[in-house]
């Protein structure tokens, strides 16, 4: 396997780990840490920040595409 292919594979694994962590956190935090926080800065803000982070990550993931 060449250096470039190895680099792509490493990047892929890192992205996969990042998105997996994001999703796990999105499912767990509102049901644990924020379970009793009846304020807008609780689950409401958390899920909004999660979505913005996911969207920003997808923008970065696709930034280097070229025709």
């Amino acid at each position: 396997m060449g250096d470039r292919a190895r680099g792509r594979r490493v990047a892929l694994v890192l992205w996969l780990a990042w998105f997996l962590a994001l999703e796990v956190v999105a499912f767990l935090v509102p049901y644990t840490v924020l379970r009793n926080v009846g304020r807008l800065w609780g689950a409401f803000l958390f899920w909004n920040l999660f979505a913005l982070l996911a969207i920003a990550s997808i923008f970065i993931l696709t930034a280097r595409w070229q025709d």
């Binding site: 999703e23 509102p30 049901y31 409401f44 999660f50 969207i55 997808i58």
Partner: protein
């Protein structure tokens, strides 16, 4: 709501839709690809709006707002988890797009069949899509008809609403294929976003007293609605059961995964995905805000599904805006329906008729596809007129049931050992399992049918693939795609 204004708005919407559909038809060629995929030449902005309108049905402004009214912030989490699932489109989108361009695929089922070198895989994937998406279409029709009946105080009977919506979806799909669908979708997406956003500003500004009062009202009066499980609906198993099928929606549902074949370039595909992400985030927040506004202003509704129609009937919403918002909801439903109709007819013509009659010309497939559009519309129409319980169950189970296509789809691009027998076992056995669970209303170990669909189809795909032989061309297929992806800087 004044009936004369309602009729005028519906007439203007119908007229404008036809003008756009006919204008988009110009330049339409005679090929199958031209009709069903707009010759793979759509630009990013139209694609993004059309993808948004296709994805978001009437569920958003009626179902999701009602769910927020009933269950609180869990509805936001569920919908935003779906949005984050677009990472799958960012990863698999370029693979779909390149493979379709290189090998001339028209439908996702055709792509699977070619990768696994199996006609059976194509036919089974196409049949599964038809089985679950026709009822899903009929539920959209039912939603429009109920809404018009409610808003007109019964002056527009249910049957008339169903007939009108079927006619529009059928006509706009038939006039110019994906060209007319994409352009009418784009127009409808704008109506959906602008009208729903304006309602939020009017209701919060004039009905609640501003955003500060809105936030304060929620925290003081409904703190439970800002947590999960909240008032009780969103137990973790429910949240997981709802979110999981939607997370994979962009791969499992052919009316959206087929759109990954359509952009004119890789950068147009990127614009489509990015545009959709922004649209989806804003539209989700608006839908959720509608639900919370209804919770504050109308706390005693007997049925959460009445949250939206009752909110639109409040005096703080000007009649003209209420009518525009109603058109936004109708737009959401019709833009989903016409895209589903087009995708299903392409799958019937190409993947079922085309494979059962080998050697048939592409022109003949196109003719069959055009004839099938009214037949599928007719089936959806009949289902919605009879309002059978069976249809409701099939429609509800569609997102869970179509999940069984995901392991074979993902495996096609990341696992050389994936085999046709593995794909068939995962789709057929897990499909039957989901139906048994759904019809029996069963949740073994507390897990919803969609979760079982994913577990079962993944295990079967891997296990059966490991004991059967992969197709001869699988390695070459993946190598050619991966080489092109590397050239284009795609991970």
């Amino acid at each position: 709501m004044q009936l004369s204004w309602l009729y005028l708005a519906l007439s203007a919407y119908t007229f404008l839709g036809f003008v756009v559909a006919w204008a988009a038809r110009r330049g339409l060629g005679q090929s199958l690809t031209d009709f069903f995929l707009a010759n793979r030449t759509l630009g990013g902005a139209v694609n993004a709006l059309s993808y948004s309108a296709t994805t978001y049905s009437a569920f958003m402004m009626v179902g999701l707002a009602g769910l927020t009214y009933r269950a609180g912030v869990g509805a936001l989490g569920f919908e935003l988890v779906y949005l984050s699932g677009l990472v799958l489109a960012a990863f698999f989108g370029p693979r779909f797009w390149l493979a379709a361009k290189l090998r001339g695929y028209v439908s996702p089922a055709e792509m699977l069949g070619d990768r696994y070198e199996s006609r059976a895989v194509t036919v089974v994937a196409a049949l599964a899509s038809l089985l679950f998406l026709i009822p899903y279409t009929s539920v959209q029709l039912m939603g429009i008809a109920y809404l018009l009946q409610e808003l007109s105080g019964g002056a527009i009977p249910y049957v008339v609403g169903v007939l009108w919506a079927t006619f529009l979806a059928l006509a706009w799909a038939r006039v110019g294929g994906l060209r007319s669908v994409a352009w009418t979708d784009a127009l409808q997406a704008l109506v959906m976003l602008v009208s729903s956003g304006l309602v939020v500003f009017f209701v919060i500004g004039r009905g609640i007293g501003g955003f500060a009062a809105f936030f304060r009202g929620l925290e003081q009066n409904y703190p439970q609605w800002l947590t999960v499980p909240g008032p009780g609906f969103f137990q973790f198993s429910t949240f997981l059961g709802l979110s999981l099928p939607w997370f994979f929606f962009c791969l499992s549902n052919p009316q959206v995964s087929q759109r990954l074949f359509v952009p004119r370039s890789l950068l147009a595909l990127r614009r489509m995905l990015r545009g959709f992400l922004l649209f989806g985030f804003i539209y989700t927040l608006i839908s959720i805000t509608w639900g919370f506004c209804a919770r504050l202003l109308l706390p005693d509704l007997p049925n959460p599904d009445l949250a939206t129609p009752t909110l639109l009937g409040l005096p703080v919403v000007p009649s003209a805006l209420a009518i525009l918002a109603m058109l936004g909801i109708v737009s959401a439903a019709i833009s989903t329906m016409d895209s589903v109709l087009l995708t299903l007819s392409s799958m019937f013509a190409r993947d079922i008729y085309g494979l059962l009659r080998p050697g048939i010309s592409e022109a003949r497939q196109l003719a069959v596809g055009k004839w099938v559009i009214p037949i599928i519309s007719g089936a959806a129409l009949v289902f919605s007129l009879f309002r059978l319980d069976l249809i409701a169950v099939l429609a509800v189970s569609s997102s869970a049931a179509l999940l069984v296509l995901v392991p074979a789809t993902v495996g096609a691009f990341i696992w050389r050992r994936g085999t046709a027998k593995g794909a068939l076992a995962s789709i057929l056995v897990s499909g039957i399992l989901v139906m048994v669970l759904q019809f029996g209303n069963l949740k073994p170990l507390g897990l919803w049918p969609g979760v079982w669909a994913l577990i079962s189809s993944t295990l079967l795909f891997v296990a059966v693939s490991l004991v059967t032989s992969p197709p001869k061309g699988a390695a070459a297929f993946l190598d050619s795609i991966n080489a092109l992806l590397a050239e284009k800087n795609v991970l």
